[in-house]
């Protein structure tokens, strides 16, 4: 037996603060995005189904946090990101893309608005350095630019907080059952006009009772007993109800233990990156490096709704010219049992190549292989693709177009 996918790069890999916890839990460790991360603890399939039916705890401290502060932070982010960021309400999150001048996707990310003067960007681990360098360069360029009003973009700082922050995610329909009893709002006296100070990021935030948070809203809380301050958002990457919890890197081990010590509250188990991928893919959420990269435009990826029409942003001009899609993203399932993998060829009924697999995996919920692919003919109507095949190591496996997502959250 020869395992082709073992890819542990000994050089320059980082560990999250929870690395020893993962080892102690018997995790299978892999190298991902420059980090040693748990792929699974016992079983990807069991962990996946536990999140769909109960809840799961993920260490996603590898993800990046970039803090943008100052009076000009809003207008600056509006220029660098595709989404309208400055105009969203405080305590809300926007999903956005960050594009290069050609309209290619540098990264997809979420932006947390604490106030008009303070924002947090949450970036993919593999892209954090690149994003930070890009954003920092844009800031310097704008500050130097003679075309810009001299007063603009002077009150602005961009900082990479990634090493200072631990990030946990609790996902699944029962997530409330564990988070509600363990957490409490920082102040019981809500005065909406009053701002509080968030010690983790050193800035002001608005109070919002955490049990009232809607999807893509956040607030600051405290975990009882362990007395740890956290930023908590109703968000995730699984297609389930869930929370993402930001704490100081120094506190994340305590919080991990506190949640696991109370796991009976929601039948929770630790979940590795393997199930994180199968969960996100059943929910048809894009993964950078698969559905997105710098050669793919937001139109190709079907993400044009995240391009603001109300403002100018980097990449917009280039996109106006290439408004025609160059390729089209489709989703499919297979009748056979072999799993399609990234970059495998898609063949039409005459076995002519028509595209490439973006993501391929096994769906634990539907118990079958599923995938996404870019078809080179952007005019193709997915439902018209009747007979097509995936070339899986020389076997032509019949595929069938599926309307995404593969899994919808139970209401």
């Amino acid at each position: 037996m020869n395992n082709k996918n073992v890819n542990i790069n000994e050089n320059e890999n980082k560990k999250t603060p929870l690395y020893d916890k993962h080892l102690a839990l018997g995790a299978k460790i892999v190298s991902f995005a420059g980090f040693y991360m748990p792929l699974y603890y016992k079983s990807i399939i069991d962990e996946h189904l536990n999140v769909r039916n109960h809840s799961g705890l993920f260490d996603i401290s590898h993800m990046g946090e970039i803090i943008v502060k100052g009076r000009d932070a809003g207008p600056f982010l509006d220029f660098v990101l595709t989404a309208d960021v400055s105009s969203i309400f405080p305590n809300t999150i926007a999903y956005s893309l960050i594009l290069n001048e050609n309209g290619g996707v540098i990264d997809d990310l979420t932006v947390y608005k604490f106030s008009n003067e303070s924002y947090m960007i949450v970036a993919n681990a593999a892209n954090t350095k690149k994003d930070f360098a890009w954003i920092h360069t844009q800031m310097i360029n704008l500050q130097k630019s003679k075309l810009q009003d001299q007063s603009k973009f002077q009150d602005l700082t961009v900082e990479n907080y990634s090493d200072k922050i631990g990030l946990l995610s609790v996902q699944g329909p029962k997530s409330r059952n564990i988070i509600y009893p363990l957490a409490e709002d920082i102040s019981d006296n809500y005065d909406k006009s009053k701002n509080n100070f968030c010690n983790i990021f050193n800035f002001q935030y608005n109070i919002k009772p955490f049990k009232e948070l809607s999807h893509f809203e956040f607030s600051c809380i405290k975990f009882k007993e362990i007395n740890i301050e956290a930023v908590i958002s109703r968000s995730g990457y699984t297609g389930e109800f869930g929370f993402e919890i930001f704490v100081s890197a120094d506190d994340v081990n305590k919080l991990w233990d506190y949640i696991l010590d109370n796991k009976e509250l929601s039948n929770l188990m630790p979940v590795g990156l393997g199930a994180r991928d199968t969960l996100r893919f059943e929910a048809a959420l894009p993964l950078y490096g698969h559905e997105l990269d710098e050669t793919i435009t937001p139109y190709d990826a079907g993400l044009e709704k995240y391009l603001s029409k109300n403002k100018d942003f980097i990449g917009k001009e280039a996109l106006e010219k290439v408004k025609n899609k160059e390729k089209k993203l489709i989703f499919f399932k297979l009748a056979g049992k072999q799993i399609p993998r990234h970059m495998q060829k898609i063949l039409d009924e005459n076995l002519k190549p028509i595209g490439c697999v973006a993501s391929g995996t096994y769906s634990p919920l539907n118990k079958m292989p599923i995938g996404s692919a870019y078809i080179s003919d952007s005019n193709v109507i997915p439902s018209s693709l009747k007979n097509f095949y995936i070339d899986i190591r020389g076997n032509f496996e019949k595929a069938e177009v599926v309307n995404p997502p593969f899994h919808k959250m139970k209401k």
Partner: protein
């Protein structure tokens, strides 16, 4: 725990175990299945076919990876474990029992001396993967 006194292991993590005369069961080791994770598909060898030592006899696919299975010595496949078509997870749950891949006949039983016994294999796994 399966008593693995009469098991022979290849560096590529397949095992052979004698059950009568020249007839052996063939499977993959517990270590191998734990490295793969949840097995979701296996391409079984062909019954009746002869394979040379080191030749690919099948493929195992888990959620995250694909691995090839090799013939640990020259052999002929007598029967395949077709239960694995419907329940490939037997390889995870019982790699030395119900998760065996095939029954095979060895061409030269003396080839077994080229393989490792259980103790040597455990040391091999330790020294290579820890």
């Amino acid at each position: 725990m399966t008593d693995k006194k009469n098991f022979y292991f290849a560096k590529s993590h397949e095992w052979l175990s004698n059950y009568s005369n020249n007839d052996y069961s063939l499977g993959i080791s517990d270590f191998a299945q734990s490295e793969l994770g949840d097995v979701v598909y296996i391409q079984l060898p062909q019954a009746g076919k002869q394979y040379k030592k080191g030749e690919k006899i099948g493929e195992i696919e888990s959620v995250k990876s694909v691995s090839e299975i090799y013939a640990p010595v020259d052999l002929t496949v007598k029967n395949i474990n077709s239960n694995l078509n419907e329940t490939p997870e037997l390889i995870n749950n019982d790699p030395y029992g119900k998760g065996l891949i095939a029954k095979v006949e060895l061409h030269n039983p003396s080839d077994l001396s080229l393989l490792m016994d259980n103790n040597s294999y455990e040391l091999f796994v330790k020294s290579n993967h820890e």
